[in-house]
Amino acid sequence: MSERCDRRDTVGAYLLGALTEAERRAFETHLADCAPCREDAGELRVAADALLLAAPPVSPPAELRERLMETVHAEAAVLSAAGPHADSAPRAVGSGRRGRWRDWLERPFALAGAAAAVAAAGIALGLGLGSPTNSGGTRTVVAVRTVQGAVSGVASGRASGRGAASAVDPIARSGVTSRRRSSRGCNPGLRH
């Protein structure tokens, strides 16, 4: 590292997700201009990624898979019913979700040599670390919902009130919303 930045200590807090949204955005703006902090973030990222893997193994319930796949198959069916145009809108807005999705699924999951790539991509890593879903996910969901709205007539006429998007809203379908209200006593599961 060629020089030190006086905001260097914030790198750790940033990687651990310990910043508020406003602080995170401000620090990402800083990262874009600060090469030492970007380099630092790329190096410490190893520790943050390792922490992802440290949880004691707990098996997910079978019902979770069933609920999720019910939604996935329902959404796939709606897209299918919409025909070729179903793909065009997400591509226009979401950079070709479907094509690339299949593309990376068909690749081996163990990405040989990726360790070196990760090291080389340290700068790129530093820019998007804390929010893997922030920018793209929402945009794509909106695109999918737009498609669903467009084909609401095909989707068995469920498009009323809030429209087809709500009819296939997986959260509403699965009862997660009601659970959320009752789960506020969640526990961070800390050791101390």
Binding site: G17, A47, L53, P57, L64
Partner: protein, 181 residues
């Protein structure tokens, strides 16, 4: 359903089956309650289903990518909570109680990996480990942690940074993330 859509859904099921265990383990570690952990994992995988194109192999393994999304969702869920129980959730016995029936090679490797990282974490000085755990698994902000511990924010940042540097030194490069599909 057209073939393309069927193939998409089937491929997604494979992804889920490979990574849901690690994702649920992380979510449960963070939330300390199965209903909320289920909600978090469901939200994470639905976002993945709807935006699969966001995966960029240059950013690491598929597993790390999926767990990163799960972590982000869990922090959101924790911060949405009006009341957060700050007492410790007992981790003891979790593995025995919820252990998956099958002990595949991949699962064994994952468990060993988790143990290794937990061991490294536990060897950190208490104040560093605590700051890291409160942030990463508890979803607390640096300001909240400073208040909880009664120390300046700068001290919290410093502990986090020192702890992460040590973890990095012990755990080395992220090659282990690629060893497990």
């Amino acid at each position: 359903m057209q073939l393309v859509q069927r193939a998409e859904a089937a491929a997604f099921e494979v992804v889920y089956d490979r990574h849901a265990g690690a994702a649920f383990s992380l979510a449960y570690r963070m939330c300390g309650a199965r209903p909320l952990a289920e909600e978090v994992v469901q939200e994470a995988f639905l976002s993945i289903w709807r935006s699969g194109a966001r995966y960029d192999r240059r950013r690491g393994s598929v597993r790390t990518w999926i767990l990163g999304i799960t972590h982000h969702r869990a922090i959101d869920a924790l911060r949405r909570g009006v009341v957060r129980n700050r007492h410790r959730a007992s981790d003891e016995g979790i593995e025995e109680r919820f252990e998956a029936g099958e002990r595949t090679d991949v699962e064994v490797a994952r468990r060993e990996q988790a143990l290794e990282v937990r061991g490294a974490l536990e060897r950190l000085p208490d104040d560093q480990r605590r700051a890291i755990e409160l942030a990463y698994y508890g979803g607390f902000t640096q300001s909240e942690i400073a208040e909880m511990l009664g120390v300046p924010i700068g001290t919290v940042k410093g502990r986090m940074r020192l702890g992460m540097e040590k973890l990095r030194g012990v755990l080395g490069p992220p090659a282990e993330a690629e060893a497990i599909p």
